[in-house]
Symmetry: D2
Subunit: 409 residues, 4 copies
C-alpha cells in the first residue's frame, strides 16, 4: 500500500495544517521528498477548506471569503528535478475520503465572484451532489445521474522568483485597467489570509506579500480546471525550482468543460490522489514546452449520444462581437439551458447540470468573421428520461417543486 | 437510388449554374421541392468555385477573390415547412465526386483574409491532400494520415427579411467601428460578385444589394464549420421562410476544431451529400430553439490516444487578457506547433495539420480570472511515427526537404 | 482516381466473367498484376451471383444451388510476393454499386444449408434491407435501423498445392464420418458448377476436380465472415504462391458476430472494394503467422449502449454439454430472440436482426466446467423504440402484421 | 457512507465466517436483509479463501484443494423479492481491501483442474500482479500494464430446490459419461469441504450433501466470469427463492474474455463491492428471461487499437472439427501466443497476458462448415513497446531472464 504523504483532518481548519498552502511562492517549504518512480497518496481539503456545508441553504456560498482559496496539499519535492526538466505525473487513482461522499456545485453572487452566466444568475445558489459509488445524483437537481470523472481542478509546480514576478506584474497590470470592477479582473496578492505552509514569521510575511493567488491557471499548470486531467491521465509539468514542488487540491468529482458555474464543478468535500512521478531531464527545451501537456486516461465515461447546441458571437441582446469565443460559448450554454427548461428544469438547475456533468465545450469555428461558433455537447444518457427532440414536443418530466436553494445578497 | 436534385459541372464556372448561389436572401428562388421523408442527393462545388488548383503553388490562395465565396447548392424547398418549424436533416452519407479525389488546405495572406495565426503565418501557403479511400495524405505534409470526417462546412436555411435585416445591421455596425481594418471585422453585402441563383434583372440587383455574405455562422446555421456535422449526423434547423430553403456547400473531407487555417479545412474539390428531411411543426417554440442543434454521427473516427496542449489567456508577448478564450486557444495551438517542430515539421506544416486533422479544441476553464484555459487535443495515432514524449527526447523523423508552397504578397 | 481492376456486370451470369472464380486452386490464373504500394478497385457480385432477388418471396432462398457459391473477384497478383511473405492489405474503402442499394438476409432450409438455429427456423425465409446512405432498414423487419459496417465476408490468398491437398484431405475425412448428414458436415470438391476463372479445357477440368470449396475459413483467410474486416481495417495474409493471388467477394453491408443466419449477413447485391497492398518479406516466420491477423478500422459504429444476453452450455432441452461454446452462444441467441419477441417481433425477425445488425458475440467464460458462458451484445440504439427492461414491463411496439416471407420445403 | 453488510478478515480462515458459503443451496440462511432501493457494501475473500500467496513459487497453485472454492459473501435477502421477479443489481463501485493491492493469475496443473490450454501448459504456474492505482503490472510478466476492469467473477441468486435438483441431475449425468476423466467433466456435490454459511448440524449436513458446486455458471448467474460485469454495470437476475438470496465473490481486477487461464483472471486478494438493488415484479415472464441479462458500464477502458488473431476449428495437430468454436478460439489464442513469443515473452507469460488483460474473444463466424472462426483481440496499447507488425520484423524487447514460477507435479 503506498504511503500517504499528506493527510488532512476535515474537522480542523486547513490553516492548522502545515502541509497545506493557499498561495504560490518559491519559498514555500517542500513538505515531503520522493524519488523518481515513487508512487504515493495525497489527501486534500475541498478548495474552500470546508466553508461550504452539506445543507439546503446557499448562504455559505454567498458569504464565502474567496481570499482564502484554494487550499493545496504540498509542495512535494522530487529528488533530482531541476529547472528545465519535465515532471511526469501519473494520476494512478483518485477517490473520496471515507465518510465524505458528497460534493457541492454553486453559483457565486455577482458581487462575490460571479460566474460565466452571472448576469442571468446573479445570486448565490447551491446544489449538493451525493455519490452512489462511481455515480452521482443531487437532491436539488432531480432526474440526472452520471459517472464521476474525478480530477484535481488544481495541480501544478512551484514558480521560481522570476516567473512569480511575471505573474504579479501582468495581473496587477490588468487590474489597474479597471480597479473597481465587480467582479474584479484578477486577484492581487492578499497577505492577510495567506497560508504559506510551514513558513512563519518574517519569512512568511515576505512570501505572503508576494504570493500569487491560486485562482488562474498559469504556465506551471495551477487551476486549469480541465476535467480530463482525470484519474488515469499522465501530465508533463514544467519544472522551475529544484525539486519541482508539486501541489494540488480543488478535487472535482465531475465537471463540464469550462467549469462555467465557477463554484465550481462538483467540489469534493474531501478527497485523495494516488500519484507517481518521473522526470524527463531538460524536457522543456527538448519538447518546446511552455505550458503543461498531458495524455488522457484510458478510462473515462463512454457517453456517446450527445445533443449539441451551437452558439455564435452575437450576445443575448443582439450585440455583435468580433470572433469572440467566450460570447459564442456563453450563447451555446444559454441555448442549452432554454432547451432543458422545456423539460421542467429551472434555469438554475440546468446551469448546474452544465457546470457539473461531463459536458463538452468545443471551439468549432474560430475564423468565420465576425462570428465565432462554439458548441456545447450535452450527453443525453445522463438523464432519467428522454431529452431528444421529437415530433410530439418535449414532456415536462419535472414538476418544479424541487429547486436549488438561493441566497439573495 | 435516390435522385440527384442538384448537379454541378466542375469544368464550368459556378456562376453558370442556376441551382447555386453565394449570398443569403429570402428572394433566392427555391430550385427544387421535396416532401418530408424524402431523401435525395445534392452535388457541390468547392467553396471557391474552383479557384484553387491541385498544384504546388500558393499563388491561387494569395490571389483568390474572397468576395465570390461560398458557392452553395440550393435552396431546396420542403413542402409544408413553415416559419417556426424545425427542419430535421439527416446527413445519410457524403462523398467525393469521382475523379476529384483531392482537397486543399491553406492560409490566406494577412492582407487577404488572414487566419487564426495570421500574425505568425502572414503569407499565403497551400497543402494538397489526396484521398486514399477513407483516408487522406498530403504530398506537402509528410508523415501523417487520417480517416476523413466528411461534413458540410456550410449548411443552413434561408433567412426571412427581418432576420436578414438584423444580420446586416449588426455586422455593418461592427464594421463601422474600424472600417479600415485588415483583415476586416466583417464583410458587408457586395453586389458585384453576387450569384443569386435563378434571379435575374432587377430582382437580382435588389437581392444582391442586400444579400448577406456567407462567411459567418448565424442563427440559421450557415458557415458553422463544425467538423461534427459529419455524415451520419442529424441536424435540427430553425425555419424562417415557407419551404425552409435549405442550401449547402463548402464540403470538408476533414477539419480540426476551429478550422483555424481558415482556407480552410481539407476543402473538397467536388463533393456530394445524401440527405433526408423531416419537419417538427412549431419546433422552435416547443424546444426553445434559437440556433440549430444536432446529434453526432454513430460513425466517427475512433482516435482515442491524444496529446493535449494547454493554453492560457496570456499571449505570446506576455500580455495578459481577461478570460479571453480565443487567446487561450491560440496559445494552445502555438504550443502544439512548437512541439511538432521538434519532430521535423515546419511551422506551416504543423499549422496545416491542426487545421485539417480531427483535432479537438475544448473550452477547459472559462471562469478562473483572469486566465481562460483552452486545450487542443492532437490524436497521436495519425502520425506515421511516435510523437509521445519520452525520456530520450524527440526524434527528427522529417528532414525538412519537403515543405508547403508559399506565395509572398 | 484509382483503377478498377475487375468489373462486374450484374445483368450477366457471373460464369461469363473470366476475372471471377468460385473455387480455391493454385492453378487459377492471376487476372491482374499490381505492385506493392498500389491501390486499386475491385467490383464484386453478391455471393450467389445474383440468385437472390429484391422481392417478397423466400423461394429463391429455398431453391438456391449452394454448389455455385461464392463468386470471387480475382485472383490479383502482387509483384514480388513470395511464399512465406505476408501480404498487407488495407481496405481503404468499400461501397455499393450504383443502382444496387439493397441486400438480403435469409435462413436456408434445414434441407439446403441450414444455419445456426436451423432447428428453430427450419424453413427458408428472407428479409430485404435497403440502404439509406450509411444506414440500412428492412421492409420486412420494422423498427430497426443501423449504420453499415461494410466488409468482405470472404477475402484470401491462393493456396499452394500442398495446402490445398491438406484441406481436401481433412475435410473429406470429416465428411466420411457421417456422409449422409443433412446439412452435410462439409462440402467436397464439386466440379460440375466450378468456375475456375480463365481456365478452360483440361486444365480447368483438373483444377475443378480438386478445387476447394469456398465455404469455410481456412489458413489463407477465405470465408471468415469477420464483421470487423471492415472498411479501414488492415489485414496481414500468409502468402503461399508467387504473387499471393488475392481474391474477394461475399460483401456484407453489416453483420452480427457469427453470421448466425448463414444466408447470411446483409448480402450486398453489388459492391466494390478499394484496396492497397504491401509486402512484409518472410513475414510468416518473422511473426509466427499461421492464420491472417488484422487491425480494426479507426472508423466503426460507436454504439455503446448494449443489452447483453448470457447463454450457458445447457441446451434448450436441458441437455448438459461439456464446455461447448457453440451451445452457449446458441442459448444466448435464443435468449435474445425470446426477449425481442416481447416487443412484438416474430422469432424470424429477431433472428434476422441478430444475423445482420452489429451484434457482438463474446466467449465470456470457457473454463468453468462443465458450462461455457457466451454473451450476445445487442446494441439498444439501433431500435426505434426503447428495448431496455423497466419496472412497467415491455411494450409491444410492433403489431405483427409485417413478417418475413417464408418458403416451405 | 453506505453500510458494510458483510466484512471479511483475511487473516482468518474463510470457514470461520458465517456470512460466507462455498456451495449453492436454498437452505443457506440469508445473512442480511435489505430493501429495494438500498445500497450497501460487501467484502469478499479471494476465491480460494487465501490459499494463494504473494510469493515466487507456484507450489500453492499446484497443491490447492479445488473442492473448497469459491468462498462467496452472502446470501443477502431483498425484501419483497419473490420467485419470478427480476433482481436488478447495480454495481455502483468495486475496489481493493486496503493493504491487499495485489492479485494472482495462474495455470492449474493438468492433474488438478487444468485450463483452456492445459495440453500446452500442463504444470502449475503463477504470476503476481500489483496494482498501481487503477492500473496493474506483474513482476513476473514485464513490459505490460493496463487499467483494471474490476468485476465479480461470480455473482448470483439462490436456486430453489427444483432448480438445484436439475443442476445436480444434469451434471452428475455428464460425469457419468466419463467418470475417470482428468480433469473431470464436472464437479459433483462434495460435502466434506462444504461451507454452508450459518447452517450447522444436521441441516448443514443435508444441505452440504446436495449443495451445487460453484464452478460453473448457471441459470442464476453464478460463476459466469464475464469481464464486463464490471463496476458500473447493471445486472438483471432471475429470482427463485423469496428474498432472492444474492451472493458474490471471486473478484477480478481484470480478465480476458474466456478467463482462459482458469486460475484465473487477476484474482484479487481481498476486495469489496458497492451494490444497489431493485426489483422488477414478475420480470422473468414479462421479459422471457432464463439467464441473467445485463447492461455494461459507462466507464470501461477505452483501448481501441487491437491486433486481432484468427483461429479456425482445425486443431494444432491438423485435425478437422465440425464448427467447434472452442477449437477455433483455442487456435486464436495459440496464434497470439506464438506472435508474442517473437517479442521475447515465454509462452507462459503470453498465456498469462491473454488470461488477465482486457482481451476480447469473439465468435466471428459460426456457420461456415466445417470451420468455425474465432478472433482474439489483443489491445496493443497495454504494452510498453510496439507490438504491431512492420516490414523490419519484431524486436525482442524482453531478454527472457524473467519468467513465471513453475511447479512440476
Amino acid at each position: 500500500m503506498p504511503d500517504t504523504l499528506i493527510k488532512v483532518d476535515l474537522s480542523q481548519s486547513a490553516y492548522t495544517n502545515e502541509m497545506v498552502h493557499n498561495r504560490w511562492h518559491p519559498d514555500i517549504p517542500i513538505v515531503a521528498w520522493v524519488n523518481p518512480g515513487d508512487d504515493f497518496i495525497v489527501e486534500t481539503y475541498d478548495w474552500t477548506g470546508g466553508a461550504i456545508k452539506n445543507d439546503d441553504s446557499a448562504e455559505d456560498i454567498r458569504d464565502v471569503d474567496l481570499s482564502i482559496v484554494h487550499f493545496l496539499s504540498g509542495p512535494i519535492g522530487v529528488k533530482g528535478a531541476e529547472p528545465g526538466d519535465l515532471l511526469v505525473v501519473d494520476i494512478l487513482d483518485a477517490g473520496t475520503l471515507a465518510g465524505h461522499e458528497w460534493g457541492f456545485n454553486g453559483f457565486f453572487s455577482k458581487k462575490n465572484g460571479g460566474g460565466f452566466l452571472t448576469d442571468h444568475f446573479p445570486y448565490a445558489q447551491k446544489s449538493i451532489w451525493h455519490y452512489e459509488g462511481m455515480f452521482t445524483r443531487s437532491r436539488h437537481v432531480p432526474g440526472v445521474s452520471f459517472a464521476g470523472l474525478i480530477h484535481p481542478g488544481l495541480i501544478g509546480t512551484l514558480p521560481d522568483p522570476k516567473l512569480l514576478a511575471t505573474w504579479n506584474a501582468r495581473e496587477t497590470g490588468l487590474i489597474a485597467t479597471d480597479p473597481a470592477r465587480v467582479p474584479p479582473l484578477a486577484n492581487p496578492p492578499f497577505p492577510s489570509t495567506a497560508h504559506m505552509g510551514k513558513l512563519t514569521g518574517e519569512a512568511k510575511a515576505k512570501a505572503a506579500a508576494e504570493g500569487a493567488r491560486t485562482v488562474p491557471p498559469r504556465e506551471h499548470g495551477g487551476n486549469c480546471d480541465i476535467k480530463d486531467l482525470s484519474r488515469g491521465s499522465k501530465i508533463f509539468f514544467p519544472v522551475y525550482v529544484p525539486g519541482a514542488g508539486l501541489s494540488m487540491g480543488d478535487m472535482h468529482f465531475s465537471q463540464g468543460d469550462g467549469e462555467i458555474t465557477f463554484c465550481g464543478a462538483i467540489e469534493m468535500a474531501g478527497a485523495w490522489l494516488h500519484l507517481k512521478v518521473e522526470i524527463i531531464k531538460d524536457g522543456m527545451a527538448k519538447y518546446g514546452i511552455k505550458n503543461p501537456i498531458f495524455k488522457p486516461s484510458p478510462i473515462t465515461p463512454n457517453y456517446k449520444d450527445y445533443l449539441i447546441f451551437e452558439g455564435i458571437s452575437v450576445d443575448e441582446t443582439g450585440k455583435q462581437y468580433y470572433l469572440d469565443a467566450n460570447v459564442a460559448y456563453r450563447q451555446a450554454c444559454l441555448n442549452a439551458i432554454e432547451y432543458l427548461k422545456k423539460f421542467g428544469y429551472s434555469g438554475a438547475q440546468a446551469y448546474s447540470i452544465l457546470g457539473s456533468a461531463p459536458v463538452q465545450g468545443h471551439f468549432s469555428g474560430v475564423v468565420d468573421i465576425p462570428n465565432s461558433c462554439a458548441t456545447l455537447w450535452l450527453p443525453t444518457e445522463i438523464f432519467d428520461f428522454d431529452i431528444k427532440p421529437c415530433a410530439a414536443g418535449p414532456t415536462k418530466f419535472l414538476t418544479g417543486d424541487i429547486d436549488m436553494p438561493i441566497a439573495y445578497d
